[in-house]
Every structure is written in C-alpha cells, then in structure tokens.
Symmetry: D2
C-alpha cells in the first residue's frame, strides 16, 4: 500500500486561549485517527502579544506566529481561518476571511448581536456561492452520544417530538470572589450564562429536533453585581486582583419557549449551580420514547423505548463507545470513553471532509444566527416582564 501524499489544507487560527488549545489539538489529532481527504497543516496562529503568540505557536504546534490577523488572511498558504477570539471580533474577522476566499470556522456564539450575525450570515451565503465554506463551532453537536441522539430522533425512534427540557449548569461563579473576566463584560461577551452556555442548549435543541424556535419567554438573573477584577484576562485561568468592577451580564437565564411545531421547551443556564461543574443536560420526549443526556457523563445516552412492554421498560444506559456509534470506529474498544476535546476533533473531521467534498458544513452561520435571534428574544422578553416574544425566522435576513 503506497501512500500518495494528500493535498494539504493550511489552517490559520486567530486566538490561542482556552478554545485555541482545544482547536489546535483537534487539527493535530484528526488526521491521526481519521482517514481524511485533506491533510490539515497548522500554518499560523495569530494573537496580539508577540511573546505570548510565539510561545503559544511553539506549545500548540503551529509553524508560525503573527500579531495581525489581517496579515494571516492574506497568506496564500492559508486555506481556512479558525476564529477563537471573544465574540466582539468575530464579525470583522470572519467577513474579511470569507471575502479573501478563506473557509471559516468561528467559535460560538456566532457574534455578540443579531445585527452582526445577520451580516455574517449574508457574507457566508455569498461566499458559499463561490465555494467558500463556513461553520460555527457548536462543538457539542459532535459529542458521539448527541450525534446518536440526533440520528435516533431522525429515524423516528422516539416518534414525534413532544417536549424538550435542557439545563446547562456550572458553578464557577457561585463564589462571589471569583474574578471578573471578559466573560462577565457585556461589551466583550455579549451576554453571560445566556450566551456562553445557554447558546449551546438552544443550538442542541434545534440540532436534535430539526426544528427552530418560534418564540420564547425569558427571565435573566444576576446574583453578584460586583467582583474583583481579574489580573490576567486572557489566559485559561484568571486570578482575582484587589480592585473591583461591575458584572454587566446575567449569571443565570430561565427560558420557556415553543419550537416551530409548537412543542414546548424549558431551558435553564446557570453558572451558580453549586456542585454542577459542566452539567449540560438535555432530554427530548417524543410520542413513543425519550432520550436523555448529561455532559458530566458524556459517553452515555439514555434511551426510553415506550414500545417495550411496561414490565421490562426502563431508561437504557447506552454506553456510546461501540464501533457503530458515530465517530467511534476511529477510537478505542467499547467502554473506553472519550473526553471533552473529542468533540473538537470530530468537528475538524467533518469540516475537512465538507471542504474536500464541496459541501456546506453544519452548523451554518444561518443556524448560528438563529441561536443569536433566540438569545436576543430572551433578553427582550426578560426586559419586558417575561412577555412572549417571537423569534423572527431567518428568511427575514
């Protein structure tokens, strides 16, 4: 078996903090476990601090470092731009990259406002007509257990979707002295728990059901209004300084809503849920069954089949580590679980394949825009006494 070298896919990554480390790992690892049509190359990473970005390039395995993302986009050896910066810079970078003919992967949330997200979606649509691909990084879609859930729902295994219940619970802000990072600054982060973690369960609801949100009622909550300013704002873990500053985002969001089919949805996102570290849970109930997932036990999907006789019916704990489970053929024997970063690797795999095959990957910018519209409707509802707020359809773009 002679190996003919595969065509390369030059990657440029903008930003190198938490998400940058996860994305770098994905680009490095994907070709080692999956048979890909293109060979991803970690061409260049960009960041503002020359020293830090150079160190990051070395540590994370990038061939070069740059301090100006615009220069990166101009490079001929870059085919795909991977945007891992905070949400306030997504629009500008993504639009420039698409304009330059580079495929784009942008971390979620797509943008900090509906307005920006609309412009990005329009740009992506236009770029697609030129064969340029774009994708938003709702990585949890590629956790194998959630891929399996989506397949089972699409196959009709639980029947018609009747209701969705989801929670995204963390506790890293429950201590009032946890430092004030950029994630608590509305101008950088757009919103708080709502946009950071609530966005994931909004997107997963759409992914799993194949539907969109028709409307929502929302209630936002900030528990702690002032915190010690973080000493290092852009690393993975910040420490608290002596000065204090205002929290300008929500700590928790509570949402009821309806999907396009009318099915009710109830969602909660909280960073104050003591003891829940990354409990992203979603349960979809259909007319003949139900599925349940909790990220704290991420290799498991629970399935209830209502067509079983009641005598032996019960939620099954399916360990999603079998060779015929999504992405699992490439990994380990049954029972040898995957971790958080595998979702990023799977995302890289699917994006590389889409680029090679000339297909538009999902989640698209349009899907990212829909999430943004839902978040926006939640905020507007919260501002006006939880009143029912319709989520405009994307056809309005």
């Amino acid at each position: 078996m002679v190996q003919t070298p595969k065509p390369r896919l030059g990657i440029a990554m903008i930003g190198y903090a938490f998400m940058g480390r996860a994305h770098s790992h994905a680009w490095r690892t994907a070709p080692r476990f999956f048979d890909l049509p293109l060979e991803p190359e970690l061409t260049v990473v960009a960041g503002r601090s020359p020293e830090r970005v150079t160190a990051a390039a070395h540590t994370l395995g990038w061939a070069a470092a740059e301090t100006d993302w615009r220069r990166v986009i101009e490079r001929d050896d870059v085919d795909l731009v991977d945007i891992c910066t905070p949400g306030d810079s997504h629009a500008e970078i993504a639009e420039a990259a698409l304009q330059a003919g580079k495929h784009v992967l942008v971390e979620k949330p797509l943008a900090n406002s509906v307005h920006e997200a609309e412009a990005m979606t329009a740009a992506a649509r236009e770029a697609a007509s030129r064969g340029v691909r774009s994708m938003v990084g709702f990585t949890y879609r590629r956790v194998p257990a959630l891929q399996l859930a989506q397949q089972l729902i699409a196959e009709g295994r639980i029947g018609t979707v009747r209701q969705v219940r989801a929670q995204y619970l963390q506790d890293w802000l429950a201590d009032p002295d946890a430092p004030l990072t950029w994630r608590l600054d509305k101008s950088k982060a757009g919103s708080g728990a709502l946009g950071d973690i609530g966005a994931h369960i909004v997107d997963l609801t759409c992914f799993l059901t194949g539907q969109r949100f028709a409307g929502v009622s929302g209630m936002l909550q900030t528990f702690v209004h002032e915190r010690p300013v973080a000493e290092t704002a852009d690393g993975l873990r910040a420490s608290a300084g002596s000065q204090r500053g205002p929290v300008t985002v929500d700590d928790a969001a509570f949402v009821t809503g309806r999907l396009s089919s009318g099915a009710p949805v109830i969602l909660e996102a909280s960073r104050f849920a003591w003891g829940r570290k990354n409990a992203m849970r979603i349960e979809v109930t259909g007319s003949i069954g139900a599925l349940a997932f909790d990220f704290e036990d991420m290799n498991v999907l629970e399935l209830f089949d209502a067509e079983e006789p009641a005598r032996t019916a019960g939620f099954r704990r399916v360990l999603v580590t079998e060779p015929d489970h999504p992405f699992l053929e490439a990994w380990w024997p049954p029972g040898h679980g995957l971790g958080y970063e595998h979702g990023f690797t799977h995302q890289a795999v699917d994006l590389i394949r889409a680029v090679a095959n000339g297909e538009n990957p999902e989640p698209s910018f349009a899907q990212g825009l829909h999430v943004q519209r839902v978040l926006d409707a939640v905020e507007r509802s919260s501002d006006s006494g939880n009143r029912w707020t319709e989520v405009p359809s994307n056809t309005a773009v």
Copy 2:
C-alpha cells in the same frame, strides 16, 4: 410497665379510592410504630355507593360505612374528618366539618379555585380560635429526605437560597389512548398536571425555602385533546371505553417565577415524560451549597457542601435511613428504605400530635391557599402570553 389506655381520636374518612387507601394505611399504622398521645380509631368511612363503601370499610379496616358525609360529621364519636374526595367537594365538606368542631385533614389541592380556598382558609382561621385544627395533605413534605432537606436549609447548611429548580414528571398520559378519568375534567379536578402534581413542587419550594412566591410566568400545554372515556371513574385504575370525550385540563405546565426574596425558580410538571414514572425532583442551590432530591430514589438526599475543598467536594448521596433522620428512629436499621405510603403515616403522626398538643399543624389551609394562588397566577399568565403575574399575598384574605 402498665399500659394506661390512651384517649382515642375518632377518624372519619370521606372517599376511599387511591388517597383513601393511603390514608387508611396511615391511620392504622401510625400507632404501631410511633408513640402517640392519642389512639386513632378508624370510626367511619363515607362514600356514595353503599356497596362499594361497605366493601371499602371492610377491606381498609373502618368500623362503619356511611353514604352521606353530612351524617358522618354529625357523629359524636368522630373527632377528625379526613377528606379524600376530588377537589370540587373539598370546600363544602371542610367548612361543614370545621363548623361542627371537627379537626380537618383535606387532601391537596386545597380546592379547585382561589375563591373556595379563601373561604376555607377563613373558616380554618375561625375554627383555630375555637381549638379546631386543620391541615392540607401535601404529604411529600413528610418524606424523611425532604424533612432533612428543610432542616439543613433552616440550619443554614447551604447558606442563603439562590435558586430553585423542580420538576414533577410522570408518563401515564403519554399514551393517547389512556382513559379520560375525572383528573382530566376541569370541573372535577380544577386543573391538570399543574394542580395535580405541579401543586406539590410549588408547595415543596415554599416548605424548603420558608418563602412564598412573589410572581410567576406560566405556559400550559395540552398534548392530547380527546381520549376514550374511562369505564370506571372512581377506582384506582380505570380502563378505556369505546366513547371519546374532551380533555379540559393541561397535560404539562412550565413555570418561571421568583420567591419573596427575589430568588428565581423554574418548575415543570408533565404527565407526558416517557420513562419518568414519579420523578418529583427538586434542587435548591444556596450561597454555600446545594441539595437535590428525586422521588424515584426517595430514600436519598444529595448534598453539596461548597465549603469542602474542591479536591474532595462532590454531591453526597445521603441515604436518609439513619436513626437521627426525621421519623427514622421508629422504623428499620440503616439502609432499609421506606416507601411511598410512609409519608402519609408521618403526616398522621404529626397531625395527631398537633391535635393533642393544641398546636396548628402545617401545611395550613393558608399555605394551601398560597399554592392555589400560585396555580391561579400560572393559569392567568399562560392565558396572556406568559406575562409576569404577581401572586397576591395571603394578607389579602
């Protein structure tokens, strides 16, 4: 040790279906495991069908049977009237019994309307001034794990309450051919999932936090609008007939709200949650810890203590079967769990003790009225686009 006979407490029970069986068991069993100041006597049970009520008296251990509840109330050997009928008859019976100087235990919900509940509360208040006691049967308050939860919160173990999340999930209506019983008839039951099971988590939220609801936003849902009429409407389990009739209540209720302290609450009640049989779950998060409970594992309380070092912190699975747990001294050794009916026995114990000690037991009719007001506010909110709806305080009675 010579036994002097205890003073007796003559009980009359109105209704003998599901709740009647549970209450009868409680009255029979309480004095066998607990040292009580009064000896409860199962004096008389009342029901409309002479044959059925006679059979029920025999099976459940009542000394006599009656077909007219009014005659029961007149009896001199009856000290306490235990009302186990559907909600539409609660007000009339309870008021008559209190008027006649009988202590009253009324199954939840207190009534089918706020109006009735107000009248009952006023009657109870007046009766209390004459030494007559009244109590509403939110039995889950006396599950030992929930008693323990209440104690721990009151002791400050989780600090200030920050948020409450509760669900009451069942699936017995998920099959569209499940029969149309009185519980699906608004005129009998008042409301559906909201009043039947949602009422429990509203009450528990108040019980555990020691607070009341300030306001709510609600969304109600009926999934199946027509069902086969039940052949036997008042037994424990009904079978479907060939005729069909309309469902006039909600199948599921979705609520966001705030307690008197401003703490946010999110609640869901559904009888359509496939695979969840009696999953009454409540999690209270405070400033320094959290507590979680699920009735499907009713002998367990989960406790997270945020003052533990993170290295060894985690939700503890406390098996609430130790001698120093509430009510447990009377039962079995550690690890030998209790069942559903024990809550009723504990309720009987506390009510008998309150009567003997001249104290007003809880939950009071006023507390039952508050639950009713919350349910009513949810319905009104749901009727007007989820809009924020204040829950009037009881001082308005």
Copy 3:
C-alpha cells in the same frame, strides 16, 4: 356485593424485636391490600419478659401476650407459629410447633447448625404429609424486583446462567466501638456476617437461578476482636457499656463457588463496608443478557438484553412499580416505590395462600437446610486454607 366473613388464621409470634415488628406489620397489613382466602388474626405473641411482651402486644397489635412459647403452641386458636427469635432456639420451637400440627414460619437462618437444620427439615417433611406447612423467612425473595428477576430468568430472558456475582455490604460494625450484641456471639448467632447477611445472597442465588451450590471456597475475616458489651441485648438498637467482651464470629466472608451447572459464583458479605448501609447486590449474567439488583435502590431492576443491537443496547433501569409487576397490582401507581417491610407483607400473603390452597410454600426448610450446608462448607473451607469444599446434596438427609 355482600361480604361473607373469611375463615380466620390464628397467628402466634415468638419474639418481638426487630423481626417481630416487621412480621407484625405484615400480618396486619396483608389483608388490607390483598384479597386473601383466610383472615390472619394476631392471636398471641410470646416473649420471656412479662412486662415487655405485654407492651409489645399492645404496640404491635396482638390480642394476647404469653411468656412461655410452649403454652402458645398448645392453644387451639393458633393455626400458625411465626418464630422470630435468635437462631439457637429455632429448632426446638419449630419442631414442637410442627408436632402440634401448627404451620410454621421461621426467620432465617433456619438454624445455627446443619445438624439442627437437618432435623427441622425431616420434621417439616413429616408434617407436610399431615398437611402442615412450613416456610423459612428469606424475605428478600419477595422484593418485587427480585421476583421479577426470577421470572425473567425462568422465562429464558437472559439465556443459560453463566455466572453470579453478589455482595451484601453493611457498615454498622465498622466502628470498633459499636456494641457487642447477640449477633456477635457465636453461641446465639451461629456465625457473623456469613450467616446473618451472607445467607441471604446464598439463598437468592439459588432462588434466581433455580440451582443449588455444588461446592465453595471460603475465607472468613474478623477485623475487630473485642468490643464493649451491649447494655440492652434484645432491643432494636443497643448502646455500648463499659465492659468489653470477645467477638466470636466473622465480620466478613469471601466466597467463590460453583452451582450445580458448574457456573461460577463470587460472593462477599461484610459489615465493615463504610458507606454501604444495606447494599445487597446481585448480578446474574446469562448467555444472552444480564440482570442486576441493589437493595439500596430496591424498586429498580436493571436488565441488559444482549439481543438488542449494540447501537442501542444498555442496562435498562426498570422501575418495578408497574401493575403487572409481582405484587404491585395491590399497591400504588407507577413510580410510587415500596419499602423494606413490603417483602414481609408479600411473604405473609404467599404463606396464607399456600396454607389455604394446601400447597407447600417456598423457601422450604429443605431450601433453608441447603443454605445452612453452604455456610457450613464455607466455614470448613476457611478453616483449611480456602480448599475446595463440596456442598452435600439434600438427598443425604
């Protein structure tokens, strides 16, 4: 529907401590929930202390009290003798009762020695020929989840039994200052963890598989050799005195063995397993599936069906509270769990029915004898370096 009075079944109970309370509850409760052919009557309870037995009769609901068990056996109004004393008195009482033509229920273990158990079994066989019934109280057989497990195995749902793994874990002796009760005295209790709790998992292995033990290898362990003498030896809960005495039984037992089919078994019984309160766990693996149970979650049976496609296979958490589950029709709606004492009630139900129908109930004395032979073989193996020790078959009696 006219009620003709049922024939009565007069019960005499010998002993009234922990087991006596559970048995009394069962006799009182069985006819209230189950339609029985005979009406059990709590005729008389016997114990050595006149004051205590009188108080117990009053509290537990027995019509009379006696201090001499022999007088009880002579009574014409006693049809069935229920023996709840420590194991050293079982043989004498049971043989006398059977001789007198009384049906006998004897608490487990059947006796403290194989010799006694053999004599009792011979007596039971002879009595059966006269229509007198006998049963040994391995109550856990009548936990609904274990009844269901037995049915599923008998129906072939998991195929041929391949292996059994069981543990019975408690922690009430893990504190070296826990008091020295009769359960730690070899002359009263026969053995320690082995006979008290190990006996249950030996019996359940036989019950679930329908097989007997062919041979065993055993290892016994005493962790704490001296303890403070208990102040009150026969109550439910003893307190430690100032004197100390020797522990003469095992604290834990470790067993490997084979069933009559050759299937391997691994068992552990320990009273030193910190954090495990009453974790009686058994998992039976067959050629096409497996079943798992843990008493700490006693309303659940876990079922793995290997004939499911691997993609959606997983242990199902069957909540054994459905109307078509064993004994459940009589109790509450789905999801409303049962507790420890229900096994005793179900045992009473089955025994009453067997007496009425002229059938020999199970577990029989012969089955109790087999358990005794297994325990004896474990002790002999432990005394001789774990060597393989055959369990004699009952045909040798």
Copy 4:
C-alpha cells in the same frame, strides 16, 4: 519570553496496533499540554509487515518505519524503546534494549511467565545502576481519579486499609462467535481475562494500598472452548473466519487473597459480563472511610468519610476535573472530562520527567514482576482446588 529548544528524547515504538495507537497519541500530545524537560520525538516505529508499518508510521506520525526491532535498538537517535507487542516478545526486546542503554517502557503484562519477568527485572535493576530507566505500562495508575485515590489513601483520609474489592468486567467474548484472536492463545497472551484485565486490578490494588499480595486462592473459568479463527490477527478489530480453533486461556478469573497487612481482597475479571463494557471497578475500605471507582465513569471518584456525622454522611461523587486534581491543571475547566487515552499521555509525561530527572519511574519492572507472581499463584491455586497459595516476595529474585 524566548524559547530555547529543549533537548530531544528519541522514541522508538515496537508494534502499532491498539496499544501502538494509544502510545503514539501520548508521545505526540504530552508536550502540547504539559511543560516537559525533554521534547519527545517520534523517531521510528517497528513492525513485521513492511507495508503495514509504513502506513502506520504515516498515520500515527512517526518519522521512520522499520521491520526489524533489532535495528531500531541500534540507532543512535533512539533514546527510549516503547514495547507494544504481545507479551511473548516482551522479555527479548526489553532486555536487548536495556542492554543497549535505551530506556524502556513495556506494555503490561510485563511478560507471559514469572521466569521471564524475573530476568527482565534483574536486567532493569542492572540497567538502573547505569542510569537507564524502565517502566511497565499499567496505564490506569495515571487516570486522575485513581491518582487522587492513591493520594487520599497515602494521606490517611480513609485510615488503615481494611479490605479491597475489585472487578474488571467486559463482555466482548460473551458472544460465542466472537473471533479467536491472539488474546485467546495461551502461547501469545500467557493467560486470558486473568492476565489481560485481572492484571490491572492486581496492580491497582498494590498501587492504591502501597502493599503487596501475601497469598491468593483462585478459580479460573473458560465458558466457550472453541471459536471461529480470526481473519486478521493484528489489527484493532478482527472478524471471524470459517475455521474454528481452541480457546486455550481463561474467560474469567475469581480470586480471594490477602495483602501483606493481612487485609482481605476479593477480585473478579470477566470478559463475559454482558452489558459491562470496561467496568474496571475498585473499592478500598479503610478504618475511617472508603473510596470507589468505576472506569465506565472514569472522571469520578467516590469518597465516603466516616468521620462525617451520620446525618449528612454519604458517598460523595467527586468529579476529578478540578485544577488541583492530578494532571488536571494542564487540561480543561472543571466538568470537562478526560477520556481513555489521557492515562497514556500522563504516563508519557511522568516517564519523560523521570528520565530527565534521573529517577526510576513507577510502576517498575519489579512491580510488574509482583503482578506476574500473583497471576501465577492464582493459576496454581486454581489447578489445585482453590488451595491457598503464597505469593513469593520479590526479594527472592
């Protein structure tokens, strides 16, 4: 911050199947997440088939491929030899490599016989005197939850170790038509479930308690004696051919034993446990607490602290993803779990650091030899009716 290039550590890997993929990932990934004193370089991989090893080198990221492991050992640019072949070739390769002054990492089990393991241990001891390091790949030691368990026990958090209970349960052979791979051939694999998975729980027992095994009683079981021969013997997943061949190893092993302190141990390894995919479970009970782990939920350690008041005591579910948990500082935020391969990465990290610091890493060959002696004693005990068999101490080497 200027980056001075780190000294390199040239790695040669022998074998490239299941373990080879895991090890390659570890060498590639360790320097990307951990700050290491040496830069590992994937210099060369060796295997018998020229085509396959070349393909593997390309896929797994090795700079060169070789078909003769002896040539690899001679290379000057190789500093460390990583042996991932079946157990029958371990001794020869390891001894040659140590002789040539190369550090050695050898996959578990150390060898297929005690005799070989003794020779390897002697060679490792001699090599250590020359500064050459050796390590055996019991990777599960470096699962963070098990590292934490070891630390807590060493700190005295559960007091004196009283007993250990462990199981390693899989089901990949439960289907009698699963193919006959080299793992079922005694000449290649040494033993079956005992050596393949039982070895892990033997090693973990030693690791966690800091003790060795004094003696054991063992019982081995082969359920299926003949299987279809595998078509491809050295890939990750084999398919069944039409010919059949004999299974010459055990399918399950059942062990009771004692540690050097006398503490009892009970172990089971089975590849026939339907529904258990990789359930490596270990529970260590001490005098004041207990710890429990299950690899199917590998990011969790359960801790019971017996010094808590009983009222709030319970097993804590510690999510081992906090920055102060072993190895976690390098990875993701709390709640973002790790997967199976992380143990290999951590093993690489510790080995690289030991080499750089001139320390002997653990588990040593001597520790691997002890495991081998335990497995051997189990086999000998099983051959002679479970009789107690002492495990010779390593001082006899």
